[in-house]
Point group: C2
Chain length 338, copies 2
DNA sequence: CTGAAAGCGCTTACAG
DNA sequence: CTGAAAGCGCTTACAG
C-alpha cells in the first residue's frame, strides 16, 4: 500500500474505509480503540491501523469534537510566561493535563481585564471543558461568562468568590519571611526595624494578605509600622525604582519585596545607593537567590497548587471555596555574616 | 428578550434564528460580518446581534472550522516556558498571533523528541495552518510530519534543513562575548586566557556555532584552546555543577557559559570555591545580570526573531533557508574594578 | 461480527 | 433583500 491522494484533501475515514474495504463506522471504531467492544476482528483492525499509518491519517478533531459531548480541552489564562513562578505553573499545568489525556490551551493575558475576557470567550468558543483563571484581575467576571456557557472554572493564585479557588497561604508565608528579614537585619546590620514593604497593589488580594502577615510579625515584636514604610507602587520594576527614588530617605535598610518582578527594580535602585542593605522576597527565582543581600525567598508550592487544581477539576465542586497551600521559605546566604 | 434555554444545550444559530424570526443563513452572515455583502437589512442585523448578546451566544468553533478551509490556528512547540528566553518567545508569539487574528496554541515539549512529535500530531489533528518548531531536537522530522498533512513549518532558534529557519547569529555573538570576557579577565584578574567554555551539547547546532565564535576570538589573539577547556556537559545546571567538580583543577577563572540554565549550576559551584572569577553568559536574565562576577550577557533579539518568523509565515516560502538575527551584547558591571 | 443512517453546528454556493 | 439545502468529517445509537 502506498501513500495516495497527496492532492490537497487530507485522508479521511472514508478513504481508509475504501482502501481496506470496510465501512466508515468500522474504521472509526478501530481508530477510537472501541473496536474490541464492537467485536471487530483483529484482522480488520490491523488492516485499518496499517492503512492509517501509511496514509498518514490524522483524525480531524474539529469533526470529532462536534459530534462528542466533551472536548477534553482544558483552558488556562495566565498573566505572563516570562517569570519563574508563572512559567512553572504553565509548564506543570500542561504536563498534568497531558498525563490525563486532556488538551491544554494556555493564553497569556498580561494582567489586562479585557484580554482576560477575550481569552475566556475564545476558550468558550472552543468548547473547553473547564477554565483555570490564574492571577486574573477579575476572576468572577470570567466565572460568570463561563458559567453561562456551562463551563466550570477554577481560580488559581488569586481567589474569586463564585468558584473554587486555590491560592498560596500568603499571610503565613509573609509573616515568616518578615520575621526572617527582621532577624537578619538585626544580626547583620544592627537594624531593629520596622522594615520597608515594596511592591504590589493595595487592592490586590495577595498583597493584602501579605501585608497582614507583614504587620502581624511587626506587632508581635511590639513594632509599629509607619504608613510611609508601605510602598504599594504596583508590581512593575520601573514603578518600584521610581517609588524608591521618591522617598525622602530610605526609611529602612531591610526590605520586604512583594514579587520578583518588583525586585528587579528594587535591586537596581539599591545597587546605586552605596549603602548596606538586606532584603527578602515573596517569590522564587534561582538567580535572585544568588544575590548576596538576599536573606530569603518564599517559594510557592506550584506542585501542590496544581495537584489541588486538578483535584478540583476532577471533582464536582463548583461552589466558592478557598484552598490555601503552604509555601516554603528558602533561607539564603545564612553564613554571610561570619 | 430574556435569557432562555439554560438547560444544558448552548444557544445555536438556529435558536437565534427562531428568536428573531429569520433564517439560520441570515444569522450566520450577521454573526460573521458578511451581512453587508449579503445586503441584509441593518434592522435585522441589529436584532440578531442583540439576541446573540442577551442569549450569551458563543459560536461553536469546531463546527465553524469543520466547514471552512483554514483554521487560523498557529501552533508552536517550545522546550520550556520556565526560562526568560523561551518565556519571552512564547509571550511574543501569542501577542503577534492575536494581533493578526490568529489563534495561537503553544505546547511545551521539554526537549523530548517524542513529545515534540506527539505535539506536532496533535496540532495536525487540530488542523493548524502552520507550526513553529522552537528549539526542536529534530525539526526536520516535525517538518516531514507536517508537510504530509499540508501544514507549513518554520524553525525558530534551532535550524532545520527542510523548512525556513530563523535563528540568532550565534557565532558572531559568541565571538564578541568571548572577546569581552578575555578583556575583562585580563583587566580585572590579570588572566590572559584561554577561557573555559561550559554547557550545551557538542552535537547541537547552536553550541557548535558558539564554539566556533569562541575559538575564533582566541585564535585572533594567538591563543590555543586545549580540549579540556571545552566542557559541553549538556544544558542542565546539575550537569554543569558535576562536570566542574570533576575537573582536575579550574583551568581558568574566566568562563564562557553557554546558557542561563547552565549558569545556575556554574555559579552555585564557583560560589563554593572561594576564588576570584569572572564569567559571561550566552542568554539574558535580569537577575543573573546583577551578579557581580558577570561581565556580560548576550541578549537574543526576540522581537526581531518573531517579526521575521511571522514574515515567513505570511510569505509563501516553504523551502529551506536560514535567517540569522544579530544579538545584543549587554556589558555588565563595567565599573567594578575601580 | 458489521453497516446504514442520522446528526453535531456551522458556511456557502445557489436560487430566487 | 433572503432562505433551502448540501456538506465539512466524524460518532453513535440502532438494526441486523
Amino acid at each position: 500500500m502506498t501513500r495516495q491522494d497527496t492532492s490537497g484533501r487530507r485522508t479521511t475515514i472514508y478513504d481508509l474505509a475504501r482502501l481496506v474495504d470496510a465501512s466508515p463506522s468500522a474504521v472509526s471504531a478501530v481508530l477510537n480503540g472501541t473496536w474490541e467492544k464492537r467485536r471487530i476482528s483483529r484482522k480488520l483492525a490491523d488492516r485499518v491501523l496499517e492503512a492509517a499509518d501509511t496514509q498518514g491519517y490524522a483524525r480531524n478533531i474539529q469533526a470529532s469534537l462536534l459530534r462528542r459531548e466533551t472536548s477534553h480541552i482544558v483552558g488556562m489564562i495566565i498573566p505572563k510566561y516570562d517569570n519563574r513562578y508563572f512559567g512553572a505553573i504553565a509548564e506543570q499545568f500542561e504536563a498534568r493535563a497531558r498525563e490525563r489525556g486532556l488538551f491544554p490551551v494556555i493564553t497569556c493575558t498580561q494582567r489586562d481585564p479585557d484580554l482576560e475576557l477575550a481569552a475566556a470567550r475564545e476558550l468558550i468558543a472552543y468548547r473547553a471543558d473547564c477554565l483555570v483563571s490564574t492571577g486574573a484581575t477579575n476572576p468572577d467576571r470570567v466565572t460568570e461568562l463561563c458559567a453561562a456557557a456551562g463551563i466550570r472554572t477554577v481560580n488559581l493564585d488569586l481567589p474569586g468568590s463564585d468558584a473554587p479557588s486555590v491560592i498560596s497561604d500568603n499571610e503565613a508565608a509573609a509573616r515568616d519571611l518578615t520575621n526572617l528579614i527582621l532577624d537578619r537585619g538585626r544580626d547583620e546590620l544592627g537594624w531593629n526595624g520596622p522594615l520597608l514593604f515594596v511592591g504590589g497593589r493595595a487592592s490586590d488580594h495577595n498583597t493584602g494578605a501579605r501585608l497582614r502577615g507583614f504587620l502581624e510579625a511587626h506587632h508581635a515584636r511590639g513594632l509599629a509600622v509607619p504608613d510611609e514604610n508601605v510602598v504599594t507602587c504596583g508590581y512593575a520594576a520601573a514603578k518600584a525604582e521610581q517609588a524608591l527614588g521618591n522617598l525622602a530617605s530610605l526609611t529602612s535598610p531591610a526590605i520586604f519585596v512583594n514579587s520578583t518582578i518588583t525586585l528587579e527594580g528594587v535591586v537596581r535602585w539599591l545597587d546605586k545607593q552605596d549603602k548596606q542593605y538586606r532584603f527578602g522576597c515573596f517569590d522564587w527565582d534561582p538567580f535572585a537567590a544568588l544575590l548576596k543581600e538576599n536573606v530569603g525567598m518564599v517559594q510557592q508550592d506550584v506542585d501542590a497548587m496544581l495537584d489541588e487544581t486538578f483535584e478540583v477539576i476532577e471533582s464536582d465542586d463548583r461552589g466558592a471555596s478557598v484552598k490555601r497551600i503552604a509555601c516554603r521559605l528558602n533561607v539564603l546566604n545564612a553564613g554571610i555574616s561570619d
